[in-house]
Amino acid sequence: LFESPRRGWKEVSVIFEVELGALNGLGTMLQELAQADELRDLQTDGLGESGPPAVDAARSVSHVINELCLPGVKERLGETGEICVNLAGEYQSQDEQSIISFDTVMKQYTNATGDWDVPEVPTPSAAKAMVAE
């Protein structure tokens, strides 16, 4: 008697488009973050010229940050953004009859982004073992 009204294709399609639009917006924001000035390479010019040697060692840390940390973070933000934008674009052009659920889109998003695994800061003894390797 009180069966809820079923949504028509038109309505489903409009909702789906709104959902995809928000995904596209999220993607654009992440791509912008990936380009942000805050992720510029660390500058070490002029540092360490007069010592002590520990400053050189610290410059090596900055070098590793520039070579590995920053490209990794930018890739994570940029690629996640690209996945959002691509998925939104891919399904925006689907015809009404082949609309899939937005849950499915987000499953793809989860799989395509993959888990970003960052280990905990090692304890001093674990760090020592890592160096020994």
């Binding site: 928000a22 002590p52 070579e67 990794g72 395509a112």
Partner: protein, 454 residues
């Protein structure tokens, strides 16, 4: 180490604070960005997304924020080392400077090298005796300060250098690789594999890894979703080697450190496997799934060439053998845990099956059975390997089968497949020159005589 006077006054340990501040600022910025990402998802969820989709989006954003926070922890920790290091070096350095200043104010001289305190000018023996206690006192203060400074510097340098492996491991994840990083690493591999930096080695090694869940999926024969970033990186590396034959590639990669070499080989396995999927369709740089065709082009062409083996009046010719044996040795460099139905292993196995079948034909071709008396070898067709005459029992498939033997899914498919019976007959009939080591590997037993399963 003995400091010079120039160093005592020239060293700027305060630069450690400058660098530490950069790292702390970066840590805060990274955390802030992933905080913004999470906030945006929450905002979108409240307005547009619901149910499973909203949960999926928030779960990913929160897990990334957690990863970013751990990344920031690593940066903070190394900043702690640098800041503490500043104090450890600066205090004795200042003591040394003050002692030198004091000695000079008292009229003494201090040498540039060795920081020796000496009495200036012409003095009488009596004056010298009177000054000596003060000279000795300044000398002790200067030397002990300089020694403590040098020791602190060594300790801080060691602590920072020792932090590098942990930082590299924290900074590199398959989910944060990509084509730009691959382009750099591949270029170095092409220019000089022995010159790969520890940073590049870390990326190459990491690219060929799977999480325990992904490994389980691979072993179970399920689809293995990997990140688009990892697929993009692996594909970009492989594309840079399209022009190299298997032999050239093996010779080249042999110059790379073992960890990087293993990473490249593992990447080839994953990239060649159809069940390894990236879940994206519309990114030209990211294949939607692995495939044998994504192996370096010449390597793939050689493994799948239509004339792997040909028979003519001249004899039996096996072609592409050297390249395909090299491809097998490359495949063998990988992490064996990944060898589970990979496209690379399957292609090597297919080529080996074809080679073996024709080699056995060459071996058996001239043998004629005479009733129950026995057999006589009348000389079979000539075997050619890569265009050169070869004895019928030449080593052809041993390295190939040994390389893929760890891949039980591929071995199983070869044995149970359409031509499995013929393959097993070939295996039984071939004159293995290696005391049946290869057959042992194939059947999964380490010692064929012992009959123990592996």
């Amino acid at each position: 180490m003995s400091l010079t006077k120039t160093e005592v006054y020239g060293w700027k340990p305060s630069e450690l604070l400058v660098l530490a501040k950069m790292w702390r600022d970066l840590a805060a910025n990274i955390e802030g960005m992933f905080g913004q990402y999470e906030s945006r998802v929450k905002q979108v969820n409240s307005l547009f997304w619901q149910g499973e989709a909203a949960t999926a989006a928030l779960t990913r954003a929160q897990s990334d924020r957690g990863a970013a926070a751990r990344l920031a922890d690593h940066l903070e920790r190394v900043a702690d080392i640098a800041e503490n290091g500043f104090h450890e070096i600066d205090a004795p350095l200042r003591r040394t400077q003050d002692a030198i200043d004091g000695a000079v104010e008292d009229g003494f001289g201090v040498t540039e090298v060795g920081l020796r305190v000496y009495i200036r000018g012409d003095v009488t023996r009596d004056e010298q005796d009177a000054l000596e206690p003060a000279r000795v006192s300044w000398q002790e203060q200067i030397w002990s300060g300089a020694e403590a400074t040098a020791l602190a510097d060594t300790e801080v340098s060691d602590a920072l250098n020792n932090a590098l492996p942990g930082l590299r491991a924290a900074f590199v994840s398959p989910a944060t690789l990509g084509s730009e990083q691959a382009a750099k690493d591949a270029q170095q591999l092409l220019d000089d594999p022995s010159g790969l930096t520890p940073d590049q080695r870390q990326r190459l090694a990491e690219a060929g890894t799977l999480t325990p869940e992904q490994l389980l999926a691979l072993k179970s024969g399920d689809f293995v979703p990997i990140s688009a970033s990892q697929m993009e990186y692996m594909n970009a590396i492989a594309r840079r080697f399209d022009h190299m034959s298997g032999e050239d590639l093996e010779a080249w990669l042999k110059n790379a450190p073992a960890d990087a070499r293993a990473g490249v080989a593992s990447s080839f396995h994953l990239l060649s496997t159809k069940r390894v999927i990236a879940s994206v369709q519309s990114d030209a740089e990211v294949p939607a799934s692995g495939a044998p065709e994504l192996l370096p082009r010449q390597m793939h062409q050689s493994l799948t060439r239509s004339d792997l083996a040909t028979t003519s009046d001249d004899g039996i010719a096996l072609n592409g053998v050297a390249d395909n044996q090299a491809a097998a040795r490359i495949a063998d460099w990988s992490d064996p845990a990944l060898q589970n139905g990979t496209g690379l292993d399957a292609a090597i196995m297919d080529a080996a099956v074809t080679y073996l079948d024709h080699q056995v034909a060459a071996e058996r071709g001239g043998i004629v059975q005479i009733g129950e008396v026995g057999s006589v070898d009348l000389g079979g067709p000539q075997l050619y390997i890569d265009g050169a005459e070869a004895p019928a029992d030449a080593r052809v498939t041993e390295d190939m089968i040994n390389a893929v033997a760890a891949d039980r899914a591929v071995v199983g498919a070869a044995v149970a497949g359409e031509n499995g019976q013929a393959f097993m007959t070939d295996v039984a009939n071939h004159e293995w020159p290696d005391d049946n080591k290869t057959t042992g590997e194939l059947y999964g037993i380490s010692d064929p005589d012992a009959g123990e399963p592996r």
